[in-house]
């Protein structure tokens, strides 16, 4: 049986802090998860949740205080498998005295590519991330978004089997975000495994096969974006149009709002037909009826507020 692309078991990281480094601060607590081959896995969580810590542990940038991690069937400490892994650090920094083409060429050299292959790959990657005209400019003149694009290019330069992206959309404008999404989808189509961290939930909802939610250094749940949240319907939303001058009276009509050109009405699921009957009687034209479900964002906010409430309670009680 093929081993998962990423596998962690009770992975934990504590940092010493305080004047004499005697106190310990937990950044990640007993993380056990798997990312299967060929899937797009999103690591979700607010800032400081432990997403980057997890990724840095996987990439050997920091070392675990407990537990283990394996990637592509090898321990995370074995750098030989880095030849099959692409990594985009959070807020990537590169040698600013080099041009984008030089940076990519420098990284390509570590993968044993010939000069001809390097030249071809570098041009292809610059084009892919929309930097073909800026490839000869030193990185010290690049904007944050352009650096993010260089970061993405160096991550996929050597055609890796596993791509790990730490906040890949950070610093990008809407066009850039769309392009990164397309690149991730393209990689998925090519059978690559992708792990990316984000705190932007819509990105995870659009791209991920599965997500893992991390908050306060703990993994709170893993599953498809829809299964991670409670699927029970919160109510029904009816959008409708009503001719000018019609009376907005009635049990339901009185509660309708007018956010734009049309009207909007939220009702309980068991009251849907009664509401529709009232709207029909009033001569309303129904334009849409949709279920109101909690979004990933709602789930996320609930998680964060619970964490904060718990932290405050601990602080107040002094325990």
């Amino acid at each position: 049986m093929r081993s998962p692309a990423i596998e962690t078991e009770n992975l934990a990281k504590e940092y010493p802090h305080g004047f004499l480094h005697l106190k310990r601060k937990t950044s990640l607590e007993s993380l056990t998860m798997q990312v299967q081959n060929g899937e797009v896995f999103g690591l979700l969580g607010p800032n400081g949740a432990g997403k980057s810590t997890t990724i840095k542990l996987l990439m050997g940038i920091i070392f675990p205080t407990a537990g283990s991690a394996r990637m592509l069937g090898k321990p995370a400490s074995d750098v030989s498998m880095h030849g099959d892994i692409g990594y985009l650090p959070e807020q990537p920094y590169f040698y600013d005295y080099l041009t984008a083409a030089e940076v990519l060429d420098y990284f390509a050299r570590f993968h044993g590519l010939s000069a001809a292959e390097r030249g071809e790959r570098v041009q292809k990657m610059l084009k892919k991330v929309g930097l073909e005209t800026a490839g000869r400019i030193q990185l010290r003149k690049y904007s944050k978004g352009m650096l993010q694009r260089v970061g993405l290019a160096q991550a996929i330069l050597h055609d890796p089997k596993l791509v790990i992206l730490d906040e890949p959309m950070s610093g990008l404008d809407p066009v850039g975000r769309r392009e990164v999404r397309d690149i991730i989808l393209e990689l998925k189509k090519a059978g690559r495994t992708i792990l990316f961290s984000t705190h932007i939930l819509s990105d995870a909802e659009v791209l991920c096969d599965r997500v893992g939610v991390i908050a306060g250094g703990k993994l709170r749940g893993v599953g498809s974006p829809s299964s991670i949240v409670d699927v029970k319907t919160l109510g029904m939303e009816i959008l409708f149009e009503l001719a000018e001058g019609k009376r907005m009276a009635g049990r339901f009509l009185g509660n309708a709002t007018k956010p734009g050109a049309g009207f909007r009405l939220s009702v309980a699921e068991n009251e849907l037909y009664a509401a529709l009957a009232e709207l029909d009687a009033a001569g309303a034209k129904i334009t849409a009826v949709t279920q109101i479900k909690p979004t990933l964002e709602d789930f996320f906010m609930e998680l964060v507020s619970k964490d904060r409430a718990q932290a405050t309670a601990v602080e107040v009680s002094g325990k």
Binding site: Y15, K56, M59, G60, I61, I62, F63, V79, S80, M81, H82, G83, I85, G86, Y87, P89, Q91, P92, Y93, F94, Y95, Y97, L98, Y106, F107, R109, F110, H111, G112, G151, Q154
Partner: protein, 258 residues
Amino acid sequence: MSRVLTVARNAFREAVRDRVLYNLVFFALLMIVAAIVVGQISMDIETVVMISLGLSAISLIGLLIAVFTGVGLVSKEIDKRTLHAVLARPLQRWEFLLGKFAGLVLTLAVNTAAMAAGLFLALLVVKHSLVRSDSVVLVAIYFILLKLMLVVALAMLFSCFTSPLLAILFTGGIYVAGLFVSELRSLQLTNLTAQMQKFFAVISYILPNFGNYDVMGAAAHSRGIAGRLVLYNTLYTLLYCSIVLGAASVIFSRKDLK
């Protein structure tokens, strides 16, 4: 090995683009002024003055580059987080350290060679000819380069576990202490306890002996330098650098990067 060379090549390119080699302009100006001033002296000491001045300048400029750039080699990469993308390659941390070391040593070698050329040009202007015995100056320059290699290795070691400022202070301190190793060994410490005498004896052998590299007097007076000393200093430098870089690699390989 190719990965080490890739890092070394980039470290050299960084030094060139960060204008480290601009110090050569200062050295050239110093040599021009010295040649003009020394040219006015007619007491047969112009060669001695030129060689002493030239070698001192080569040593001092090299030391400044070795300490400040050497400390920055690793700490700057950690601070700016440029290391993250580099270590995501199939590259061991010790390979990265060795590559950085080789890159700076190459920079220092090019820099020292250019300054050596400048010194010989100035000597030619002052003496109007060069003789075979002037080749001793080349040996003195080679020893300066060996000394700089050792300083770079020490600077890298300290920068692996402490702040850049402390690393500069430690490297500078070890360098100054290392100049007096011979004196430390020949000291008559009779008023100290046996343990303290032993302690100082051990320290004198642990400290790098920078005094061994100082042959400025011999070079200035065209006295020959024993081939045995050349071999000894070469082997001593290689062994000491290996130990220091080995220790740096062990520390760096376990270091959590920010």
